[in-house]
Chain length 330, copies 2
């Protein structure tokens, strides 16, 4: 357990998640036990719903995942083993994404029917949010990966948001099925034949319009679009700051529009979203941004708890097996 703000923010998020949720679930805090106990002591919470498991080591954010993986007493590896052993039902981490994926692959393995797990990310839309995957685990993909992303994304969105038959789209450079690369052309054809609510290609301009609930792409383009979107908050902040320092009317305007401007920044603040699910591991894992607030961690725990409650993992296995049985999936 780490993150940019240290364990106290994670502990606060976990406590909020428990206190504010109508759902019944328990949280096991995995990390340096004395520090976690100290952070926990500042909250008044019935001890039966929160526990601590000691893991003295942390894989640092910028440490290569392969090196960190060698240390089996790191918090992420201990957490994965708790999940593997059935002590926990899901893992939420504020850690190094590469290390969480590597630990998940090593300790949990892949879900039946999944060739490559993916990192999914929530994008804000004018009416809510959409889920894009992959955003970085698989820079180079095959059609089969896209099929798996589509199925996993669809099951996840249905499980967490309750939306039936989420609209699945393929990110490309034109809406026509004939637009794109050989890979997206073939993927379009295959996705069209699947028992999914596939709405076809969407372009970059449609990511924020909410036309699709699940957006499928390779991890190269997905990561670039995600990082570009993440940078918008800083870009807007710099622009607003310059303006209000140069003009007193603008300064007053900014005060009056304060809640809105904060919300606009929040819209593109990926540290506030509550986690990116790793889909395709044999266990539910959610990664939060290193700079996550307690609220973001609370939201991530809730989304993870909803995934567990709705048997998202089992449903993914079933949906993937179903594809194989109709011969739509290698």
């Amino acid at each position: 357990m780490g993150g940019d703000h240290g364990p106290s923010v994670c502990v606060e998020g976990a406590v909020q998640a428990i206190l504010e949720s109508p759902r019944e679930f328990q949280v096991i805090l995995v990390g340096d036990e004395p520090k976690l106990r100290e952070a926990l002591a500042t909250h008044s919470l019935n001890g039966s719903r929160i526990d601590v498991c000691h893991a003295p080591d942390v894989i640092q954010m910028h440490e290569p995942a392969s090196e960190g993986m060698r240390r089996k007493d790191s918090s992420i590896r201990v957490a994965m083993r708790l999940l593997k052993d059935g002590v926990g039902s899901a893992v939420v981490s504020v850690g190094n994404t590469g290390a969480v994926m590597a630990a998940g692959l090593a300790d949990l393995g892949r879900l039946a029917g999944v060739s490559r797990p993916a990192i999914a990310s929530r994008f804000p839309t004018v009416n809510g949010a959409s889920l894009m995957l992959d955003v970085g685990a698989n820079p180079v993909c095959k059609v089969q990966n896209f099929v798996e992303f589509a199925v996993m994304g669809s099951v996840f969105v249905e499980g967490v948001t309750g939306k039936e038959r989420p609209r699945v789209a393929l990110l490309s450079i034109g809406e026509e099925p004939s637009k794109g690369t050989d890979l997206t052309l073939a993927a379009h054809q295959t996705l069209s034949d699947l028992p999914l609510n596939f709405i076809g290609n969407i372009e970059g301009r449609d990511v924020l319009t909410g036309r699709a609930d699940v957006i499928v792409c390779d991890g190269f383009v997905g990561n670039i679009v995600l990082k570009f979107a993440e940078s918008l908050r800083g870009f807007l902040e710099t622009s607003v700051r310059r303006q209000i320092s140069s003009n007193k009317f603008s300064h007053l305007g900014a005060i009056l529009m304060g809640p809105f401007l904060r919300r606009m920044r929040g819209t593109f603040d990926y540290a506030e979203y509550g986690g990116a699910p790793l889909l395709g591991l044999d266990g539910l894992c959610m990664i939060c941004h290193g700079a996550s607030s307690a609220k973001a961690i609370k939201n991530a725990i809730w989304a993870t708890s909803a995934s567990v409650e709705h048997h998202v993992k089992d449903r993914m296995v079933e949906a993937l097996a179903n594809l194989r049985s109709v011969g739509a999936h290698a």
Copy 2:
């Protein structure tokens, strides 16, 4: 000559370009002559700097380029032939990008040393702008294409902005040379060895920070990032509109911040930018957004005029030949 607003906006942009520029250049308006003469009659301009060339047909925005290309009396094909014949020095179009590229390839051909021309697009940054290429002409690229994009982008930015040794970056999913796909890894290596100011990989988060003057990528990812960025204006507008209709303080704030909010929307209004150069054709071509304002057309004409004045085309040929002579380019 077309565009979403018809010829009058184009004519107005051309007239402004002539009247407001200290540079001496002439404009030939290519399109339906009676309509152009009518639009021109509303302006008081010395006729010696503007002329009209009749081209009765227009390739529509959503017409497949291949079909439009058959009609040789379309305005874009007539304009390309004027350029080919040396009557004009550059073409500025508000037309269908695919059709302009196809007409350029058919009537002008490729520049010596260029295997595939690219569409370049300006991105706003916190301090100015950067040029990204390719943004759609080449969804699938080879290392050689990236080398050509880097050289052409660098020469273009130097010619138009006067900035010496523009910083060239490769768009990827990590700053380390080892991050990316096989293609970007190989391109990184090759670009490092060229006589360019290559600063290495940048991530999606760096597009708007101004770290690079020229951003090289394939046309698939470039197009998706461009379209995503183009959609931000609508996203911001919808968000501001909702807020000010729901809260009177916000309404007042929005009035006080009016100039700023307009500028923010303008920042992501790609119709205001003054054109995306097609680089790698044997002739200078600039494409403006179909919804371009007269000001955007004026800016596009100025940028094109600067490219002509700074011999951008000849410099590109020279720079590409120089690479071949040092063996860095196939």
